[in-house]
Symmetry: C2
DNA sequence: TAGATTGTTAATCGATTAACAATC
DNA sequence: TAGATTGTTAATCGATTAACAATC
């Protein structure tokens, strides 16, 4: 019916819309315009309207978008209207941090298994989950109907974890390790490597350090 | 001399190049072609050549790029040829994880101050740094010549931390909280919100859960 | 009715890719 | 010299934005 290909840029903005909408909902706001959404997210209103229109006519001319309805619709689009189970490999600091974070996500995503290679970590509890050995990955992923895998191991181990995820039939991977992963085309990979963001941030700093004062512009 | 504006897309790829180059360097590879880099990063070789050519003629026709030289050049471009000091606010799980991570970064970036609002965390040690009260932020940032701030506090507190960073004269912010921040135009903000990545990942999963088997394609 | 705001088309803008002369 | 690969221009592709008729 809708043969139009949705671009990645559009899909990546949907969670941002959801973020703001959830906030508005919490504050009992009933209706929001693309204008207001654009203000809050620093995005062009036309872009927001166009993004949403790819998926249906969710707004009302002259009125705007119903907050509750739009939340429901975006959840559906993102397939978050059903519980989605996630496995995490790498129970180090970052892994533990994410385990806490994502538990709080009310967005139907839940980490239901944690794995690690380190014998001294295996068997410990994180958020009521027992850390399992990596060898248990495939069996557990299948048994718990886990569809997304998070990788928080060092870069050198990331590919072998990805291989295990693929073998276990996972459909998507969120990789925190600073390395590009090789997986079959039908597996989706998103990268969450903050070192990239941090290093590129440095580019935008003012010139040569701030020991020297920059001359004023006027 | 070079009045060409460099796009964000280009700058964000530079750390990726650095990643692969560092790896090649470790394995004593002397020279690399745009073709090989493209293979490793899943990028078009022409794009890589074009990206690099914005900043100078770093390659040799018929040969490729000298690994060591290119690393040095990209470091210069990213202004990582000098030490760059970073402050972190939010000494929770994520903050602790990042403190460890970034310490290992040999790329001249170093977290040199950690802050938190929680009295029971203030005064504790993380990686030989003592967690300081937020009220000490401005003074410390100035004293230690800190130019980048990392925010790892809950979303509701993120804006007030950003305001403090701005007031302290920070030049760039890496925000892990899932919220858009308002800062003056001359302050650069990068977002490292993995919830966005995780939620958008769900969009690409196969249809309606995997209880039902999908019909095979052939 | 008048004001507001959507959905959508057309125009603009920007980024990626192909192609190739230059040259190591 | 022949093969390889850069730097760069031109062509293509895709994404953003402006504008406006439709309509609540």
């Amino acid at each position: 019916m809708k043969p139009v290909k949705i671009s990645e840029a559009v899909v990546r903005r949907l969670p941002l819309y959801l973020q703001v909408l959830n906030d508005l909902h919490k504050r009992d706001v009933q209706t929001v315009s693309s204008q207001e959404l654009g203000n809050k997210l620093d995005l062009n209103p036309a872009q927001i309207r166009k993004d949403l229109a790819y998926f249906g006519d969710f707004g009302r001319k002259g009125i705007g978008y119903d907050v509750t309805y739009l939340i429901e619709k975006i959840r559906q689009i993102l397939k978050l209207d059903q519980p989605l189970f996630v496995a995490l490999v790498g129970a180090g600091n970052l892994g533990r941090a994410l385990s806490n974070y994502t538990t709080y996500l009310k967005d139907n995503m839940k980490i239901t298994a944690i794995f690690d290679a380190n014998p001294s970590i295996i068997g410990t509890q994180i958020n009521s989950l027992t850390v399992q050995p990596i060898d248990a990955l495939k069996e557990t992923v299948i048994a718990l109907n886990i569809r997304i895998g998070i990788i928080t191991v060092p870069a050198v181990e990331a590919q072998s974890v990805a291989d295990r995820f693929v073998e276990a039939g996972i459909e998507g991977i969120l990789n925190f390790a600073p390395t590009v992963l090789r997986v079959p085309d039908d597996i989706r990979i998103h990268y969450a490597d903050f070192t990239t963001e941090l290093l590129s941030l440095a580019y935008y700093l003012d010139k040569e350090g701030n020991e020297e004062n920059e001359p004023a512009m006027d």
